[in-house]
């Protein structure tokens, strides 16, 4: 199973998903992020999905849960870089990613977290 690395820059945790996600990897990421949030007290999480070719209902649910878990640590999650084809497919699938904020790219996501958006 591949692991997704988490980088801490300032008060923000950065996650860039560069692998074809299997269910176990997404669950592992969820656990790793919760640990990092507790250990670092980060106030924001940016998840870059630029390289992600599909988001199915399982991956979508995990992303929503990451947003909810972050909130329990007083942190905000922003998903950035969603491909147009992924957005269209997610909508048709019936997934809304409720409660998770999205931004066009990492820069805009960071601005959102810093309250400048």
């Amino acid at each position: 199973m591949d692991q997704v690395p988490i980088l801490k820059i300032g008060r923000t945790l950065f996650v860039s998903i560069q692998i074809d996600l299997q269910d176990e990897s997404v669950m592992r990421l969820q656990e790793d992020l919760a640990e990092e949030l507790a250990a670092t007290g980060a106030s924001g999480v940016i998840i870059d999905i630029t390289a992600v070719e599909i988001v199915d209902s399982f991956i979508g649910r995990m992303l929503t849960m990451i947003g909810q878990i972050s909130r329990l640590f007083d942190a905000e999650t922003v998903i950035v870089g969603m491909r147009p084809a992924v957005a269209i497919t997610l909508t048709e699938l019936g997934l809304s990613l409720n409660g998770v904020r999205t931004a066009l790219d990492a820069e805009k996501g960071l601005a959102m977290l810093n309250g400048r958006a």
Binding site: D20, Q22, E24, I88, T89, L93, G94
Partner: protein
């Protein structure tokens, strides 16, 4: 026609890649490729979790009007589905999921056929046509 096993999470990832290649070679648009691969991911996971594993047959097909398409047949020998109408409802799940796997993947493809009987497994055949 290619036949791929569905026995683990790694297999699900391999199936996505295989279906992506088949869809691209067949000339499906990027959005249609993404829809088909997403449906394949949902259905492969269902085969794995609810059907106890199985296989998928991936085939490039031609319609009567000459359009090319990709046909996927997911087959398992699991417990089967007692109430198919209920299983196809948005939001209904027998497990812990969102209940969008079957109903959602049906919306993502052009043809969808589910055959199942309790005790004799489940087969889901889907087709996505190029435009």
């Amino acid at each position: 026609m290619d036949e791929l096993p569905i026995r683990s999470g790694d297999d699900v990832v391999r199936i996505r890649q295989h279906v992506r290649n088949a869809a691209a070679t067949t000339g499906l648009s990027l959005v249609d490729q993404t829809k088909l691969v997403t449906a394949a991911s949902e259905l492969a996971r269902n085969t794995l979790i609810y059907g106890g594993g199985g296989l998928v047959r991936v085939e490039v097909v031609k319609s009567a009007t000459g359009r090319a398409g990709v046909r996927l047949a997911f087959v398992d020998k699991g417990p089967g589905i007692a109430n198919i109408d209920l299983a196809l409802k948005d939001g209904w799940t027998s497990g812990t999921g969102l209940g969008l796997g079957l109903s959602g993947s049906r919306r993502l493809v052009d043809e969808f056929e589910l055959t199942s009987r309790p005790g004799s497994g489940t087969s889901v055949v889907v087709v996505k046509w190029s435009r």
